[in-house]
């Protein structure tokens, strides 16, 4: 029951992400657009490029979707509304999202085309930039909660949300999450103007629909993870827990989607440079500061 409800909410969330994304991109708010686009894609041809690596080509969109759904299983929307409250929940999110890289590399290699392949390579480089900045802030969050249970992490923020308790960690995680979801300005693997869509370029019809659904689910999952780790999850006054989760998740999603509109795409070497030279020392500093705070104010 919980599983079905969460999956339903995930689809609904993905739908809202699509609405916000088209709004961020074109400045027009059309509630029906993603539904029509989805139905239309199902009716169109799904062309297979010449000489593809068939297994990689077919599996990649599905794997992207699976990876996002897996990560969503440990996200608590209310104290009870969670598919699996794993003892290693916080770590599990990270583990599930590693398959995003695998999916994109397969999508890059599979179609046997130059643009897709460069897109796949670029995402491999991007992983080297963001991967540590996902894990290290989560470490600091788990230190405060003294648990990897995602529900426990939410409860640990009842006094003060982590966004205020460890702001450095929040900024790093937020940026890394955007890079992981390859949202603009981190859309290097699927840049329209550089690679004509890159990893997405060779997918069409129903396969493209699955690919896009996977990406939308990934965005909503990452926004939910940000809410659970830093924005106090379901907690909040007056409204019921599920409402707070929904409001916070949509607000984070909108911020993630709108940010890229107001800046040019990042350069790959800058992304790597900044993440390692600036990001990782900051993440270590964050862990140190949280450690001191945990010891001094237990």
């Amino acid at each position: 029951m919980t599983t079905a409800l969460i999956l339903l909410l995930l689809v609904l969330g993905a739908y809202l992400v699509a609405v916000i994304e088209s709004w961020a991109h074109s400045g027009r708010f059309q509630l029906s657009a993603p539904l029509l686009a989805g139905i239309a894609l199902l009716g169109r041809e799904s062309i297979v490029p010449r000489k593809p690596d068939r297994i990689f080509y077919e599996v990649a969109p599905v794997l992207l979707l699976i990876s996002a759904v897996l990560a969503a299983t440990v996200i608590p929307l209310t104290p009870e509304l969670i598919i699996a409250d794993l003892a290693t929940g916080a770590l599990f999110i990270n583990a599930a999202l590693v398959y995003v890289l695998v999916a994109l590399l397969m999508a890059g290699w599979g179609p046997n085309g130059a643009y897709a392949m460069i897109g796949g390579w670029r995402f491999l480089g991007q992983l080297i930039a963001y991967a540590m900045l996902i894990v290290m802030p989560i470490t600091a969050v788990a230190m405060r909660a003294e648990s990897l249970l995602t529900t426990q992490i939410v409860i640990s923020q009842s006094g003060l949300w982590n966004i205020l308790y460890q702001p450095i960690g929040f900024i790093l995680f937020f940026v890394a999450a955007m890079a992981l979801a390859f949202l603009p300005p981190f859309d290097l693997p699927n840049a329209k103007s550089e690679l004509a869509g890159g990893v997405e370029a060779e997918y069409s019809g129903v396969r493209l629909a699955v690919f896009r659904l996977g990406r939308l689910a990934l965005i909503i999952t990452l926004a939910s993870a940000t809410v659970v780790f830093y924005l106090g999850g379901w907690q909040g006054p007056w409204l019921p827990p599920w409402a707070w989760s929904a409001i916070k998740i949509l607000a984070v999603t909108a911020t993630m989607l709108l940010a890229g509109r107001y800046m040019p795409r990042i350069r790959e070497d800058n992304l790597l440079g900044w993440c390692w030279i600036l990001g990782i020392p900051l993440a270590l500093l964050n862990i140190f500061l949280v450690g001191v705070l945990v010891l001094v104010f237990p």
């Binding site: 392949m117 329209k192 800046m263 795409r265």
Partner: protein
């Protein structure tokens, strides 16, 4: 029924799907968004969503008349689109080899909106049809040929047996035309090596290579296994495999650094990068020659990477060093398989019609070439033509700057005919020229925004461009605050500096024109030599950095300068037609177009234009692309090309 319908009966559920398709028209724009903006079209407002990959498109939007080379490229795009697909043509007369347009409309926002309305109805009704035919065009055809597995030089159009060994010929596909190379979706070359016979006979001093595929090299005449063209003989280039025979007399010894293969000098010494002692190297042994000559790489890399060759002895199994030792090296020294891929002619963020061919070493450009598919070869034919049609032809040549070229034609004709222009209309012409500079620079800003994925800039600049296109004096002044606030906000955008500083750096010793020149501290503005401009208070803009940011700054400065010039000129109107009567003479004129100085020389015979000589800035700038792009990351390279603001329409063959 539409020509690109998908097979099936339109019934039940499909009706619902078809009406959903009608509401979601992903559109691929030919020749490009720059042309749509220059015509003042707002595709999003008309309900068309732009897509970058033909695979995601269901509508092919063709704007204006496009030359045959571009139509062929568009046919390749159309063939890759998902069915049901539909063609919407605005003001185009001939689309072949594309099928005839399903919907035809004129070039205006109103007509576009009507066209989209009709298109939706056509899609909802005709998306599926029981009998559909495949789209085919000569440019798409793949020829089947027959060859002998032992003697690749034997190629026949029909099945049969090999005249040399009697074996049955095997079937394979050959690409019929070279144009196939220009599809948006290149095929990797890596799977083509299998089965190629590379016999290692070194006796023959002559090799045969394909003019289109330099990596195809064989010792006997025949035809190219990739495209079927006849191979051409050439002097064998000594490569790593042959140098034991040719290491003699004229081979100059060069010295290189073991760590930095790009460091090559004629005398021994130490590496300027790391200080290591340089090692001697035979001149023709250099790896970086491979940048232009792929024969080295494919010929030998194949022998090391394919597993069934006999020369595997003494080599570690799948050793990366052995596998990659003959691959071409770029500046970073990392060996990778190079890919040649086309960028354009319809890539968003590049001017429509510009075809860049980049040889990519990973994400780095190893070599680049550019050519225009819209160069105007048929211009000014037949000569002599009367002066009025000459003006129209020149003005239609470049849809990105029609007023500038109209003015250029008028001025040259007036010079030839000895006509003086009254000061009032001279001022009005300046108003029109400067207004076009503003719209052109705004169009470039929109393109730059698209290139860098900066959506806000694209939308803002396109809106302002639509407003300035036909604006009068008062409206231009009224737009000033909006332009100023856009510029202010743009320059404050995060990541803008890191994206543009030091990218695409040009030096003043190159031949440059217009904003590109002024961004590297060269003042060659044609306006500064004209008295009328100086009396209006014109001062040329100037920056010294020579990079993308400097070019952005220059164009932003010029937008504001042009507003002041228009306000000083006090009128805006394009030049009136010139009547040349039956005069004869020669005339010339120079105009500072938005892209730089354009010059025209012409001779007039009995009032008819007999000979012309045209010089345009983009013709010179297109030659900058290869040196500018070498060893740049792909994103930087494309930003650099975009920052040159080339107009493929004015590039002369």
């Amino acid at each position: 029924m539409i020509s690109g319908a998908r097979q099936g009966k339109l019934s039940g559920l499909r009706q619902l799907v078809a009406s959903a398709m009608a509401r979601d028209p992903g559109t691929f724009v030919v020749p490009g968004h720059d042309i749509a903006w220059a015509h003042g079209l707002d595709l999003e407002a008309a309900g068309l969503q732009q897509v970058a990959s033909p695979r995601h498109a269901s509508v092919l939007l063709v704007i204006g008349d496009i030359p045959p080379a571009l139509r062929e490229a568009a046919a390749v795009i159309y063939a890759q689109m998902m069915r049901p697909r539909i063609i919407l043509a605005l003001g185009s007369t001939d689309l072949s080899p594309l099928p005839a347009a399903d919907i035809v409309a004129g070039i205006s926002q109103q007509e576009l909106a009507n066209g989209v309305h009709t298109l939706r109805a056509a899609l909802a009704k005709g998306a599926f049809h029981p009998d559909v035919s495949d789209f085919d065009a000569p440019v798409l055809q793949i020829r089947i040929e027959y060859t002998c597995s032992m003697h690749p030089e034997i190629i026949r159009d029909e099945p049969g047996s090999c005249p040399k060994c009697g074996m049955t010929l095997i079937q394979r596909e050959a690409q019929a035309t070279a144009a196939h190379e220009h599809t948006d979706h290149p095929k990797m070359k890596d799977d083509e090596h299998a089965g190629m016979d590379h016999s290692m006979q070194h006796e023959t001093p002559v090799e045969y290579t394909c003019p289109m595929h330099p990596e195809v090299v064989q010792n006997e005449p025949g035809s190219c296994p990739k495209c079927g063209m006849d191979l051409e003989p050439r002097e064998e280039q000594a490569d790593a495999m042959h140098d034991h025979q040719h290491m003699d007399h004229d081979a100059a010894i060069e010295y290189t650094c073991p760590m930095h293969p790009e460091v090559v000098q004629n005398e021994p010494g130490s590496c300027p990068k790391c200080g290591m002692n340089l090692e001697p190297l035979a001149a023709h042994d250099k790896q970086d020659h491979a940048g232009m000559d792929h024969s080295n790489m494919d010929h030998s890399s194949m022998d090391h990477s394919s597993m069934d060759h006999s020369n595997m002895e003494g080599m570690a199994f799948m050793s990366m060093i052995d596998v990659t030792k003959d691959l071409p090296r770029s500046g970073d020294g990392l060996p990778m398989e190079w890919i040649e891929a086309p960028f354009g002619p319809f890539l968003p963020g590049l001017p429509g019609g510009l075809l860049l061919t980049l040889t990519l070493d990973g994400d780095t450009v190893a070599a680049a070439s550019a050519r225009s598919l819209t160069e105007n070869t048929g211009l000014f034919k037949p000569a002599p033509i009367d002066s009025q049609s000459f003006i129209e032809q020149l003005s239609d040549m470049n849809p990105l700057a029609p007023v500038s070229y109209r003015l250029l034609a008028c001025r040259a004709l007036e010079d030839a005919a000895g006509i003086d222009v009254p000061i009032i209309s001279a001022h009005a012409r300046i108003g029109a020229l400067e207004r076009e500079r503003i719209t052109s620079h705004l169009g470039w800003l929109a393109l730059f925004g698209q290139q860098t994925g900066f959506d806000w800039l694209t939308q803002r600049a396109a809106v302002l461009q639509r407003k300035t296109r036909h604006a009068g004096l008062k409206q231009i002044s009224a737009l000033k605050p909006a332009l100023q606030s856009m510029i202010k906000r743009l320059l404050k955008a995060p990541l803008l500096k890191s994206r543009t500083v030091g990218i695409g750096k040009l030096t003043p010793d190159t031949v440059l024109y217009g904003p590109v020149a002024r961004a590297c501290g060269i003042n060659n503005d044609a306006r500064s030599t004209e008295k009328i401009f100086t009396t209006l208070g014109f001062k040329p803009a100037r920056r010294d950095a020579g990079d993308v940011l400097a070019r952005l700054h220059i164009r932003l400065d010029e937008i504001m300068h042009s507003i002041s010039l228009i306000e000083a000129a006090g009128a805006i109107s394009p030049p009136a037609p010139v009547t040349t009567g039956t005069l004869s003479g020669t005339g010339k004129a120079v105009i500072e177009t938005p892209r730089g100085m354009a010059g025209l020389q012409l001779t007039l015979q009995d009032g008819q234009v007999a000979t012309t000589q045209l010089h345009t800035p983009s013709t010179s700038h297109v030659a900058l692309i290869n040196p500018l792009l070498e060893q740049q990351a792909l994103g930087d390279a494309l930003t650099a090309v975009c920052s040159l603001d080339l107009s493929p329409w004015e590039i002369q063959p």
